[in-house]
């Protein structure tokens, strides 16, 4: 087993009187899909927001490649190669797929024109299209606004964008919630391909079959704590549901 690439220990976070996280632990290993499951209100979203820099913990430590880090903004996470695909995809609907991929990281033209803010659109188009095809993302139209594309296409664009920039860790927040059967399979295939590049993938999902299909390890969150970690090969839906609901309290599988 490889050592954790990204690790959270004892994360606490409260919103008013609600304690969303009460000492949660989590770890991501390179080249592995870690699923994060839990009932509504278990603290999944809060934990992901904290680990992607969108929120800050009240207490606890975060380690990246073995060193403690403090993430103030999403940019702090992104410069370390940590990307997140949010449930709402966070795409600018009026921009095309390439513009979305490079949003906030546009390539400047060389020389004076670049200093004036001109972008190297040809280069972005070339590398961007290569990135999409590299992932097998079936984006057919690179020049139209993404707002007019299907849910599956938009999901593929958001995933490909994260994959293009993530060199270490990607979080997927409910990537299949709004998709049909075929699109879901496409996204799960994308997740495997990203993992095979040696990137640590975190999958947040409500769908137990998808989790068991694609994840290597499953982290179960309950009442703001990690209730169990299981190898997906050694577990089943009943056991996961049991851990989520508390029926299997005390059974912490050594991962």
């Amino acid at each position: 087993m490889s050592t954790p690439l990204y690790e959270a220990r004892g994360i606490e976070r409260s919103f008013g009187s609600v304690q969303a996280l009460q000492g949660a632990d989590f770890d991501v290993r390179p080249g592995e899909v870690s699923a994060l499951i839990g009932d509504n209100g278990a603290g999944k979203s809060t934990l992901v927001r904290i680990l992607s820099g969108a929120d800050r913990p009240d207490a606890g430590e975060i380690f990246f490649e073995g060193k403690p880090v403090s993430l103030e903004t999403p940019t702090d996470a992104r410069v370390r190669g940590i990307e997140t695909v949010f449930q709402d995809l966070a795409l600018a609907n009026h921009l095309d797929p390439i513009q979305n991929m490079y949003l906030g990281r546009e390539l400047a033209r060389p020389g004076v024109l670049g200093k004036l803010g001109f972008m190297d659109r040809a280069q972005m188009r070339q590398v961007g299209q290569a990135a999409f095809s590299d992932l097998g993302a079936t984006v057919r139209d690179f020049e139209s606004p993404v707002g007019g594309m299907s849910g599956g296409q938009r999901q593929a664009i958001a995933v490909a964008r994260a994959a293009a920039w993530a060199s270490k860790v990607i979080f997927f927040d409910e990537p299949t919630a709004a998709l049909g059967v075929v699109q879901t399979k496409g996204v799960l295939d994308l997740i495997r391909r990203i993992r095979d590049k040696g990137i640590g993938v975190v999958l947040i999902s409500h769908s137990m079959p998808h989790v068991l299909e694609v994840a290597d390890r499953v982290h179960v969150l309950r009442h703001g704590r990690r209730a169990a970690v299981m190898n997906s090969a050694d577990t089943n839906v009943e056991e996961l549901v049991g851990a989520m609901t508390g029926a299997l309290d005390g059974k912490e599988a050594a991962a």
């Binding site: 969108a54 190669g81 590398v127 095809s133 690179f142 020049e143 139209s144 007019g148």
Partner: protein, 366 residues
């Protein structure tokens, strides 16, 4: 950025067809291009009708010159307003900022020496630009940082800037402007093209390039399209909004100077409806009031249509009030087309609107 792409090298472009016209997206794009073209066709149609009705007096170089001059100051305001509307905002203040900038510029210029010459003019130009910039910054900070809705912020500065201009002048128009400025900028021309039109054209071309080719323009669209997505990828949304409002303010300051040089007056009472004229032009030109997408070129055409109607009606001897009725109808029609287009995009279909059906059919018959 230090984030590396895992795929930036070693992979060819092969395997993917560049998105050439096929599929729904390309059709949307086609429609959007058609929207800009539609508005040009509408304008050409108006020109053709007036030409047929009054061939001698309407279709005449001097007359087109007049139309161009009447649009040039509005077009400069229109460029800034297009950027603001693309962010999903609105600017009601530009007419008052124009007046205020003209007033301050005029006051400063008449207080320096004899108030003549290029040195004084250049100071006046700088003062006008800075006055506009200051109001734009104020608008931007209130919108982006204080989170006051843009309509309220710019309604407030609309009233306040006009009020301050009246305080500074006692409500009486100033007429002080250096002769050189009036002769070169106000009434000068280069090879028969009025300076006013040249300056305006340069601003418009600059605006088109800025919106379509630069990072600033892309971020302007992106902020209007999905501000939260911009925040997540690290774009400083507040700063972008402040820059856009400041840019629009700067252009309003420039317009104030041109206005002063052309009319030799600060025209304090003359710009209470300028904001509505400009916004109408922006909207007729196809810029969505909901933000995210817009066209500076469309805005210019959108401003040319009312100006051409006004001009043509005067030549034909039609009551000029009719022009207002027609412009009002155009405005509503333009927003209807925009709505139908966005609804079609949201529904993922290309349901044809009445408007597009008429144009589609006419273009297919060719």
């Amino acid at each position: 950025m230090t984030a590396t792409t895992t795929v930036s090298s070693g992979t060819g472009v092969g395997g993917q067809q560049p998105g050439r016209p096929n599929g729904f997206g390309a059709r949307v794009q086609h429609m959007m291009r058609a929207q800009a073209m539609q508005i040009v066709l509408v304008w050409l149609g108006i020109v053709a009708v007036f030409t047929a009705l009054a061939p001698g007096s309407f279709f005449d170089v001097t007359n087109f010159r007049n139309i161009a001059i009447s649009v040039s100051i509005l077009a400069i305001l229109g460029v800034g307003t297009t950027f603001i509307i693309v962010t999903g905002g609105i600017d009601l203040s530009m007419g008052s900022v124009l007046v205020f900038s003209g007033v301050v510029s005029s006051l400063v210029m008449q207080s320096i020496g004899d108030g003549q010459g290029w040195f004084v003019s250049i100071i006046g130009i700088c003062v006008a630009l800075l006055s506009g910039l200051a109001w734009g910054l104020l608008n931007g900070v209130l919108v982006a940082k204080a989170k006051v809705p843009p309509m309220i912020v710019t309604l407030g500065t609309f009233v306040a800037a006009l009020g301050l201009a009246q305080v500074l002048t006692g409500g009486l128009d100033l007429r002080a402007a250096p002769e050189v400025l009036v002769d070169t900028v106000g009434f000068g021309d280069v090879f028969g093209v009025p300076s006013l039109v040249i300056i305006s054209a340069l601003v418009v071309i600059g605006g088109i390039i800025l919106l379509n080719r630069t990072r600033f323009g892309l971020h302007t669209s992106a902020v209007g399209s999905n501000a939260e997505a911009c925040r997540r990828v690290g774009i400083k949304v507040d700063r972008q909004l402040i820059k856009v409002y400041a840019f629009a303010g700067l252009l309003a300051g420039l317009a104030g100077l041109l206005n002063l040089a052309f009319f030799r007056s600060t025209t304090i009472a003359g710009h209470s409806l300028t904001n509505l004229d400009v916004i109408a032009g922006v909207v007729i030109g196809g810029t969505s009031l909901f933000g995210g997408v817009g066209s500076v070129f469309g805005t210019v055409i959108g401003l040319l249509i009312p100006a051409t109607l006004r001009n043509g009606f005067v030549i034909l001897g039609v009551e000029p009030y009719w022009q207002q009725v027609v412009v009002g109808a155009f405005l509503i029609g333009a927003v209807y087309v925009d709505q139908a287009r966005r609804a079609a995009a949201a529904r993922n279909t290309t349901r044809k609107t009445l408007f597009s059906r008429i144009f589609r059919r006419s273009s297919e018959q060719k």
